[in-house]
Amino acid sequence: MSAHAQQATSWAFAPTFVGGIVDFRGLPRGGSLPSVSRVIEVRNLSKSYGGTVAVDDLSFTVHPGRVTGFLGPNGAGKSTTMRIMLGLDRPTGGRVLIDGEHFSRLPEPLSRVGALLETTAAHGGRRARDHLLWLARSNRIPDGRVAEVLRLTGLETVARRRVKGFSLGMSRRLGMATALLGDPPVLLFDEPVNGLDPEGILWIRNLMRGLASEGRTVFVSSHLMSEMALTAEHLIVIGRGRLLADTTVAGFIAANTRSCVRIRTPEPERMRDVLAGAGVTVSLAPDGTLEAEGAEPATVGELAAARGLVVHEVAVREASLEEAFMRLTGDAVDHRSGGRR
């Protein structure tokens, strides 16, 4: 944990120049955050639209001080869950508590929970600064904070431009500014990197890690396993509205990736028989390479040497995280290309 925190801190304070200058020193340190639990509790949450079940008896807890990834294929119920968390949707059953309270009962919610919604919730004809200004006034946040978050998100130079002309990256920065406006201890981000260029992705990733290292609760949804592996420390994986995994990223990788040994040899059939004889599960790919599951490269080499087989290559192939993710959610995907009807 301490190693993680340390790393996250160094990330946060590494100077990054992405579009505008990213500077985390404008954010207060963890010590100045109100001493609340900052925990998000999802209890037996269900939501159905007509006959379609979007969220099915979902329960998990999101803890402060780390980035928690909320992962699932498209249509798994991530956005629905986040909408319920923000009181934008009413659950069919169960509840979500933030600091032990329903979101809708929080008196000045922007100072408790910051949210980045997938689509920009701003009027195109309004200037960026004015959008933040009405939000600040609605929650009695001092006007000075608007300039602060504009600087923090690198939007100072476009603060007086109308939102209509914003690029996707700028809109996302405005969304981030909205989320940070109340300096909240709990942050919810719905697909924050979706559609962004590598610079934008890096910026958001660093920002989220910085916020978590300050002791905030950061809950971020994504359908990209690889992105979450780089950003999150903890994972909540759902499919078809049901909980599939609630684990650390390291634990998820260890439990869900199977490595195999790839072997190239001029005599693949003989090699296959030798390995099969030794009890190794082996498959022959069309290009003539063999893939042995769960075998050590040393074992393969020794078996080949004992039979006098020529081996050109023995390599360990790690199954990718995406593969692991797809294996886990495979049964829970609604519309798979060429899959079941």
């Binding site: 934008l88 979101f103 000045e108 701003a122 609605s138």
Partner: protein
């Protein structure tokens, strides 16, 4: 109460930071005062040619306010845009996250819009009155004429 005034302040900023507010209110003013002026000018011009009965029944206040019904249309547009753009732009999500108490939010929105319209209507109606009465020349009346002030205030109150 603090939450209510905060919500009201937020809604006031929303009103004054979109261009549609300026356009719809300007249009209202131009229609009311401008058409009021034209109607008054043409009547003042043709007054002597009017029939005796029409001249006897001539109501300078009502004449000056013919234009209000037309100007009201764009004031209605102001009100409709105020609510509908919340939905078309997606601002409603930000609004409800910032102000999760639905009743409070909608009340603040309606009140902010109504107050803006009321103050603006009053200004417009007085401007229309003075413009039209001035244009009517000898046939016009002053605000001190019987019923004139009352009519103007009510016109202002009802035209929102």
């Amino acid at each position: 109460m603090r939450a209510a005034s905060a919500a009201l302040r937020a809604e006031w900023i929303k009103i004054r930071t979109v261009r549609s507010t300026g356009w719809t209110l300007l249009l209202t003013f131009v229609l009311c005062a401008g058409l009021g002026l034209l109607v008054a000018l043409s009547l003042a011009n043709g007054f002597d040619r009017m029939e005796a009965a029409a001249r006897r029944n001539f109501d300078p206040v009502l004449t000056g306010f013919y234009s209000l019904t037309l100007g009201e249309i764009s004031l209605v547009a102001f009100g409709v845009l105020l609510i509908s753009t919340e939905y078309t732009s997606g601002t409603i999500r930000a609004s409800l996250v910032a102000m999760p108490r639905r009743g409070l939010f909608y009340a603040a929105k309606v009140l902010a819009g109504a107050l803006t319209a009321a103050v603006f209507s009053l200004l417009t109606v007085f401007a229309t009155f003075f413009t039209a009465q001035a244009a009517l020349g000898p046939h016009g009346v002053s605000l001190g004429a019987p019923g004139a002030l009352r009519a103007t205030l009510f016109a202002g109150a009802t035209s929102r």
